[in-house]
């Protein structure tokens, strides 16, 4: 057993590696979480890999090195947790995910089952549902005129369509949103944000587990598809329940954030909304640009499973490495004029959905939801204008808005 004195925030304390700049910063400071751009650029400026003594972790933020570390599942594993807690040395707050927090070969099996359920074809079948709900919600917000787009569009759309897509019989929209926030906050340190989010874990986690049971799912949904993979012997029934839980952990708060951030972008850059109205074919690449610019998931960690190196810097086994996706997505060496929102950029290779074998398995669903909602707005809305101050919400893993007052001006 490792002595507690050697532990910090659930992982082993490491010595500052030779050759890595030391930066006395708290990446989970609420001000940084709400407005991370300066943190991102300083992280990139300091070097390929930076040591942060506050949590005794390494951090990468330049595009190439972030992409390399994030994708190198042999040296930098996910099975020891994708937050600060090292599951080998401390107890996870919930039973670890068998897809997010897993490595090959276990991961290969579960990923294949999830990828099939969430394939482009599968999402295509949901299009009619998405469009129908989008029309109702867009008509409602047009009738209201001035709205807070976070509860009224960004949250409402996914919590309406997503449980139906999964085929859930039990729906508590507050629990669904709060569970996602909890999962992503849990990846950070034991700070006030994480403690606040975890307060309701005792109620929400059992509710989520119960809602993922086979008899609580309709036969036509994505959830039932996962259980059919268990019938076919690809996975066990217990694993199927765990994978359905992954839908709920990763599929709600993230799309809420994607929609909110998209509306923020278009309200801040009205010329880009005009451009999109003129050429609706840019809708899908425009969403990629929203993701690149705003990185809804800003950070995921990896754990060095052996002594290794990052860009020539020695990295000892057990080191936690923050892969700061938000910084990589704004790296000027990769993205010219990175702070500019340009829907014609086509930023293939952005890291908002991660990369490699752990690239977001729900990304087709996210794109499908966005396409339906933004597509409907393109049809019916002439302008999206700020109607007050947008407020960002500190979360240890997600960069999302808390409030987004908008005026929706119809065509």
């Amino acid at each position: 057993m490792i002595a507690t004195a050697e532990m910090i925030e659930g992982h082993r304390r490491i010595a500052p590696p030779h050759g890595a700049p030391v930066w006395d910063v708290d990446p989970y400071d609420e001000a940084i979480l709400c407005s991370p751009q300066d943190y991102y650029s300083e992280l990139r400026r300091l070097g390929e890999v930076v040591y942060i003594p506050k949590y005794s972790v390494l951090a990468v933020g330049r595009y190439q090195v972030t992409h390399t570390v994030f994708s190198d599942y042999e040296h930098f594993v996910s099975s020891r947790g994708v937050g600060l807690d090292d599951f080998k040395l401390s107890r996870p707050w919930r039973q670890p995910s068998i897809i997010l927090e897993a490595d090959p070969p276990d991961h290969t099996k579960t990923r294949k089952v999830m990828a099939r359920a969430l394939s482009p074809k599968s999402v295509k079948m949901l299009e009619a549902l998405f469009v129908q709900v989008a029309e109702t919600l867009v008509d409602e917000v047009i009738a209201r005129g001035t709205i807070d787009a976070i509860p009224e569009l960004a949250e409402r759309f996914p919590v309406t369509v997503f449980p139906r897509a999964v085929g859930m019989k039990d729906v508590d929209t507050r629990y669904l949103v709060d569970y996602g926030a909890m999962v992503f906050n849990a990846g950070g340190p034991d700070n006030a944000i994480r403690r606040r989010a975890m307060q309701s874990a005792g109620v929400i986690v059992p509710w989520i587990t119960a809602a993922c049971a086979r008899n609580r799912l309709e036969a036509q949904g994505l959830g039932a598809m996962i259980y059919r993979a268990a019938d076919a012997g690809e996975i066990t029934v217990e694993e199927a329940a765990m994978l359905v839980r992954s839908f709920l952990s990763a599929g709600v708060d993230t799309t809420v954030t994607g929609i909110g951030n998209a509306l923020w972008c278009f309200s801040q850059f009205p010329d880009q909304w005009e451009k999109l109205k003129a050429d609706p074919g840019l809708l899908r690449p425009a969403f990629e640009e929203v993701l690149r610019l705003t990185s809804p998931v800003h950070t995921f960690a990896r754990t060095a499973n052996c002594d290794t190196t990052i860009a020539g810097v020695p990295v000892e086994a057990d080191s936690k490495i923050l892969c700061v996706l938000g910084a990589a997505n704004l790296d000027p060496d990769k993205w010219p004029d990175p702070e500019r929102f340009d829907i014609e950029r086509r930023p293939v290779g952005h890291m908002a959905f991660g990369a490699g074998i752990h690239g977001c398995v729900g990304q087709n669903l996210a794109r499908g939801e966005l396409q339906a909602l933004l597509g409907m707005m393109l049809k019916k809305v002439d302008r999206i204008e700020p109607a007050g101050q947008a407020v960002w919400r500190p979360n240890n893993g997600i960069h999302a808005l808390n409030a987004l007052p908008l005026r929706i001006i119809p065509k």
């Binding site: 290969t108 294949k112 990828a115 482009p120 290779g349 991660g354 990369a355 398995v361 087709n364």
Partner: protein, 107 residues
Amino acid sequence: MPQVNFVAADGSITTCSAEVGDTVMQTAMANDIDGIVAECGGSMMCATCHCYVDEAWQDQTGPRADGEDDLLDCASSEVRPTSRLSCQIRLTPALDGLVVHLPDSQQ
């Protein structure tokens, strides 16, 4: 530095220099090849980097990856025995001169 030949649906050929270790998809993106969209960036999630490996090169490019069939099943153009996701073909010196044909649509 291996060369990759992209044959567009209209028959026009673009020859690109590639890096060993890159994928055919990455080579296409780096050279602005129109017939490849690669929406998911290489996570084998989207089937918009679909290509047909020229029959002369089929042995060298090897079999489809585990799970690749499920995605090809979602491709917007016809799937043939030579169909591959170009993000799953990694370039080696032996693939110098590779010829891939592009479908008429990806989405």
